[in-house]
C-alpha cells in the first residue's frame, strides 16, 4: 500500500505541512517495498483548489492513503467515497505521522485529534488563543461602534418618541421588534446590547425577544447570498417562517418566564 504525506522537505524528517495547498514536497511511501519517493512542488498553484490538485497528483502516483496536517472534511468524504483514505490532524515529522498511522494509535477523522493528546498540546492552545484574538479583532470594533450609538441613542431618544413606535400594545410592539431584528444583522452580541438598552427604555420583553430572535434567524441583508447558495424558494421560505415564528416564540418565552418566576416566588 502506498501512503502519501505532504511535507516541507524531501525526507521523513521533514515536517508535515499543515495545509496540503502549502506543501513543498509530496512523499510517497510504499509500505510493501519500503521505498520512498519524494516529489517536489506538488502544488502547482496557490489559488483555491490547490489542495485538491495536489491530492489528485498523489492518487495518480498510486497513493491509497493520504496523511495531512489539516483537510476539509467535506472534501475528505468525497475522496473517501472514491476509495482513497484521507487522515488529517498529523503534526511533527513525516516519520511521526507514518508511525502514528501505522500503529493505529490515532483514530483521526478529518481534523480530529484524540483528547488526551489535544489537552497537552501547547501549540494548539496558542493557536486557539490567537484565533480567539482574531475573532475579537473583528467583533470588538463593531461592538464599540454599537455601544457608541447607544450612547447617542440615550442622549437624544426620549421615552415619548420611543413610545410612538413601541406603544405598549403587545402584538404591534412584538411585530416591530421582529421587523427591526430582520433588517439589522451581525454578531448576536450586538443584539443583546441593543435589546438590553431597549428594555431599560421600557420596551416590552416580548418585543425585545422577537428582536433577538430575528436578528440571527432572519437576514434581509444576507438573503441574496442565502438564495444564491441554497435556492430562492429555500431562502424566502426559511426567512419568512423564521420571521413569523419569532412572534409566537417571543410570547411563549415571556409567558414561560413569568410562570417560572411565579413558581420560584
Amino acid at each position: 500500500m502506498k501512503i502519501a504525506i505532504f511535507t516541507d522537505g524531501p525526507n521523513l524528517t521533514a515536517k508535515v505541512a499543515y495545509r496540503i495547498g502549502t506543501a513543498r514536497w509530496l512523499l510517497l511511501i510504499d509500505e510493501d517495498s519500503g521505498k520512498l519517493e519524494a516529489v517536489p512542488d506538488p502544488v502547482v498553484t496557490h489559488a483555491q483548489g490547490a489542495g485538491v490538485q495536489a491530492i489528485a497528483l498523489a492518487i495518480n502516483r498510486g497513493a491509497q492513503v493520504i496523511l495531512a496536517g489539516h483537510f476539509n472534511a467535506v472534501m475528505a468524504r468525497q475522496f473517501e467515497a472514491g476509495g482513497v483514505e484521507i487522515r488529517s490532524g498529523f503534526k511533527g515529522t513525516a516519520a511521526d505521522a507514518l508511525q502514528e498511522y501505522q500503529k493505529g494509535l490515532e483514530k483521526l477523522n478529518a481534523g480530529g485529534a484524540p483528547l488526551e493528546v489535544a489537552l497537552l498540546d501547547r501549540s494548539a492552545i496558542v493557536e486557539a488563543v490567537a484565533s480567539a484574538g482574531r475573532q475579537f479583532n473583528t467583533l470588538i470594533p463593531v461592538l464599540v461602534g454599537i455601544v457608541l450609538w447607544i450612547g447617542l441613542f440615550n442622549a437624544f431618544m426620549t421615552k415619548a418618541w420611543l413610545m410612538k413606535l413601541f406603544s405598549g400594545r403587545a402584538v404591534p410592539d412584538t411585530f416591530w421588534g421582529a421587523c427591526f431584528g430582520s433588517i439589522f444583522t451581525g454578531n448576536p452580541i450586538n443584539s443583546y446590547v441593543i435589546g438590553g438598552e431597549l428594555l431599560k427604555h421600557g420596551v416590552s420583553l416580548t418585543a425585545v425577544t422577537a428582536f433577538l430572535m430575528t436578528w440571527v434567524t432572519v437576514g434581509l441583508v444576507q438573503l441574496p447570498a442565502e438564495t444564491a447558495a441554497l435556492g430562492k424558494r429555500f431562502g424566502l421560505l426559511r426567512n419568512g417562517l423564521s420571521f413569523l415564528l419569532a412572534m409566537p416564540v417571543a410570547f411563549l418565552t415571556v409567558m414561560i418566564l413569568d410562570g417560572v418566576k411565579r413558581w420560584f416566588s
Partner: protein, 188 residues
C-alpha cells in the same frame, strides 16, 4: 503573492472594514460635539459605562472562544451536519448550528456543498436557525437578561428550529430519513 502576505492583506481588509463603523460613529460624535457638546459628553459617558459593564462578560467570552476554538472547528461541525436520520439528524444539525462559529457568509459555500451532496433542506434550515444560540456569548446574554430567560429562550429557539425544519420539509420535499451519510451522491 505568497499565502502569508495574502492572508495578512485579507485580515487587514477585514479589520479596516470592521473599523469603518466605529470610526464613522466617532466622526458623528465630533459633529454632535460641535453642535451640542453637553449631549456628546453625556453620550460618551453613557457609552463608557456600558463598555465597563461588559468587561467581565467579554473576558468570559474570550475564555469560551479559546475553549471552543481549541476543541471544535468547522470541519468537525460539518462532519455532523446531515448525518443520521430522522430525529437524530435534526438533533445533530441543531448541535452543529449551536457550536458553529464565524460569519454566516463563510458557511454558505459549505452548506451549498452539503446540499448538493444530499443533505435535506430541513437539516440545513435547522442548522441556520440554531446559529442564534451562541454558547460563548452566554455570559453577556445572561448579564443583560438573566439566566432563566436565557435558558428558556435557548430551549424555545431549538424547538422553533425543529418547527422550521418540519415545515420546510413539507413544502420543499426531501425526506428526513435520507441523508448525506446514507447516500452521498444523490440529491434529495
Amino acid at each position: 503573492m505568497n499565502n502569508n502576505k495574502r492572508q495578512s492583506n485579507a485580515v487587514k481588509r477585514l479589520f479596516s472594514r470592521s473599523l469603518f463603523f466605529p470610526l464613522a460613529t466617532l466622526v458623528l460624535y465630533g459633529a454632535v460635539a460641535a453642535l451640542a457638546p453637553e449631549k456628546a459628553l453625556f453620550a460618551l459617558k453613557n457609552s463608557l459605562n456600558v463598555l465597563l459593564q461588559m468587561m467581565i462578560p467579554l473576558f468570559l467570552i474570550f475564555i469560551l472562544m479559546v475553549a471552543i476554538n481549541r476543541f471544535l472547528n468547522p470541519e468537525k461541525v460539518a462532519k455532523h451536519l446531515g448525518k443520521g436520520s430522522g430525529v437524530q439528524a435534526m438533533l445533530l444539525s441543531a448541535a452543529a448550528g449551536i457550536i458553529s462559529a464565524g460569519p454566516i457568509y463563510a458557511w454558505y459555500p459549505l452548506l451549498k456543498d452539503l446540499r448538493e451532496k444530499g443533505a435535506a433542506h430541513s437539516l440545513i434550515a435547522v442548522f441556520l436557525y440554531n446559529r442564534s444560540v451562541k454558547p460563548f456569548l452566554l455570559p453577556i446574554m445572561i448579564a443583560y437578561f438573566g439566566w432563566i430567560y436565557v435558558a428558556i429562550l435557548t430551549l424555545m429557539t431549538v424547538l422553533a428550529s425543529f418547527a422550521v425544519g418540519y415545515v420546510i420539509n413539507v413544502f420543499l420535499g426531501g425526506t428526513l430519513k435520507r441523508t448525506l451519510s446514507d447516500n452521498p451522491s444523490t440529491p434529495v
